[in-house]
């Protein structure tokens, strides 16, 4: 019974953050752009979330006749499933987690690799040249950045001696990992932005604005699932950065641990939105060059130095 309550609690928190991000992102972006965001629909514009959801539900949910029907319908679902599964292993508090897996980090990396499928299948099933090009570029970008996403986390794993998220949070009681693992944090942060294809790495979506992109043929709630799935991805990466590098639910005891976890997560979500407000989009080859030539050597170097220091200290 308590188990069901925890599952319901985690799902509720995560899904309400992802839906609330619709409002939060637009208001935060407008703060940094010297304007007011949505403030008409409800108190402070909060009912904008409901308005957007209803709008997406009422739109015509059309599956193109020239598309690959089962794959087309399945693609947005894959994104949601992989991201929500990963939330099961992240601890929200000292006993507030669905499943304490001893390979938590590998589970997260595996799911993010599966998440690439959703874009590739979406672009492929659309049966549309521009969707395919967008999907191929997106998959190449996400593959590149996944390589050193995993490597940058290995430093944390070495310092905490375990792949489990809960054990890593426990190991940070002596000091948060972002100070010794600073370069790992930077590399993981950039890789995380590229994984959720947010600005400045939003080539899959920018093509959507300019030409078509992988979600060109999607309308109604399927597009809504891609849309909310992207916000879920942001929440996931922020939660993982908060857990792995900034102590998760650790914090002074005058407030409940869940509160500290959510505070840190929201701080990083705000940082994602600030990056979207401030940075221009690099060209696709500049993006790939950055990945292979700068960040991968940096991640490997970080791994080398961490291993050397830990061995020396033994």
């Amino acid at each position: 019974m308590k188990y069901l309550l925890i599952i319901a609690g985690v799902l509720l928190i995560v899904l309400s953050i992802a839906a609330g991000l619709i409002w939060v992102e637009r208001r935060l972006l407008s703060v940094w752009q010297d304007r007011l965001g949505p403030n008409r629909v409800g108190p402070f514009g909060l009912a904008q979330v409901i308005a957007d959801t209803l709008k997406l539900l009422f739109k015509e949910d059309w599956v193109p006749s020239f598309s690959d029907r089962p794959v087309f319908i399945m693609a947005p679902g894959i994104l949601m499933i992989t991201i929500l599964l990963t939330f099961a292993v992240i601890p929200f508090g000292p006993n507030f987690y669905v499943f304490d897996s001893n390979i938590g980090i590998l589970f997260f990396l595996g799911n993010s690799s599966l998440g690439v499928y959703s874009i590739v299948l979406g672009g492929w099933a659309s049966n549309n040249k521009y969707s395919l090009i967008g999907a191929m570029r997106a998959s190449a970008q996400m593959l590149t950045y996944e390589v050193f996403m995993g490597l940058s986390l290995m430093g944390v794993v070495m310092m905490a001696d375990s792949f489990s998220f809960c054990a890593i949070v426990e190991a940070q009681k002596g000091g948060w990992f972002f100070i010794p693992q600073f370069f790992g944090f930077i590399v993981f942060f950039i890789a995380g932005i590229a994984e959720t294809h947010r600005l400045p790495f939003d080539i899959p979506e920018a093509e959507g604005e300019l030409v078509a992109g992988y979600h060109s043929e999607y309308s109604g709630m399927k597009f809504g699932m891609f849309f909310v799935g992207e916000y879920l991805g942001i929440t996931l990466i922020s939660a993982i950065i908060a857990t792995l590098f900034f102590g998760g639910w650790l914090g002074p005891s005058f407030l409940p641990p869940v509160f500290w976890f959510l505070l840190k997560t929201f701080f990083f979500i705000g940082l994602f939105i600030l990056l979207r407000a401030s940075l221009p989009r690099p060209r696709y080859d500049q993006l790939m060059k950055l990945g292979w030539k700068v960040l991968l050597p940096l991640a490997l170097l970080n791994l080398l130095v961490t291993g050397a220091v830990l061995l020396y200290m033994k």
Binding site: S30, W32, R35, L275, S278, L279
Partner: protein
């Protein structure tokens, strides 16, 4: 790399700037007095309508949105029997105001005329006529132009001299 971090920092500082948004229905924008908005028909100081139905505004209108018909009252003074402007066609260019010889038709800084039914955008004379003098107070066409028409007698205009009785000049 430093330029990227600097961009992020400068964007963050925008938190402390005032927003540029004008929250429209609560805050109206400032419009100059010569802003070309809604068209009105004005009256002169004696509260008679200024329009003499000369058809000049309808002739100059680039989109032909003005429709009127002249008629005269018992003393011979001309006035429009009906005066209709189709505001869905009007482009608010102000040519009619420039063409009007009596300063009757004027454009005022009001733009809030939205309707749901297109037929409600056609304004008749009773909707256009206002009780004031508009932007040109104190102007009476008959006093300046020297046309009598039962409004004034001969020689009573602003730049007219009183007619001399030639029979008084006998040697």
């Amino acid at each position: 790399m430093f330029s990227i971090l600097r961009s992020i920092w400068l964007t963050f500082l925008h938190v402390f700037h005032k927003t540029e948004t004008v929250e429209y229905p609560e805050v109206k924008p400032y419009l100059a007095p010569r802003y070309r908005g809604r068209i009105v028909l004005t009256r002169d100081e004696e509260k008679n309508e200024r329009c003499v139905a000369c058809y000049l505004c309808a002739a100059v209108c680039p989109v032909d949105c003005i429709s009127l018909q002249a008629t005269a009252d018992e003393s011979g003074r001309r006035y429009p029997e009906f005066f209709r402007i189709n505001f869905s066609r009007c482009i608010y260019c102000g040519f009619c105001e420039e063409a009007c010889p009596t300063y009757a038709i004027q454009l005022i800084p009001d733009f809030e005329m939205a309707e749901y039914d297109r037929q409600n955008m056609v304004y008749e004379k009773q909707h256009l006529l206002i009780s004031g003098e508009g932007k040109y107070p104190g102007y009476n066409f008959y006093m300046n132009a020297g046309v009598d028409m039962g409004v004034k007698g001969k020689g009573e205009g602003k730049f007219e001299e009183v007619p001399v009785d030639v029979k008084e000049l006998m040697p």
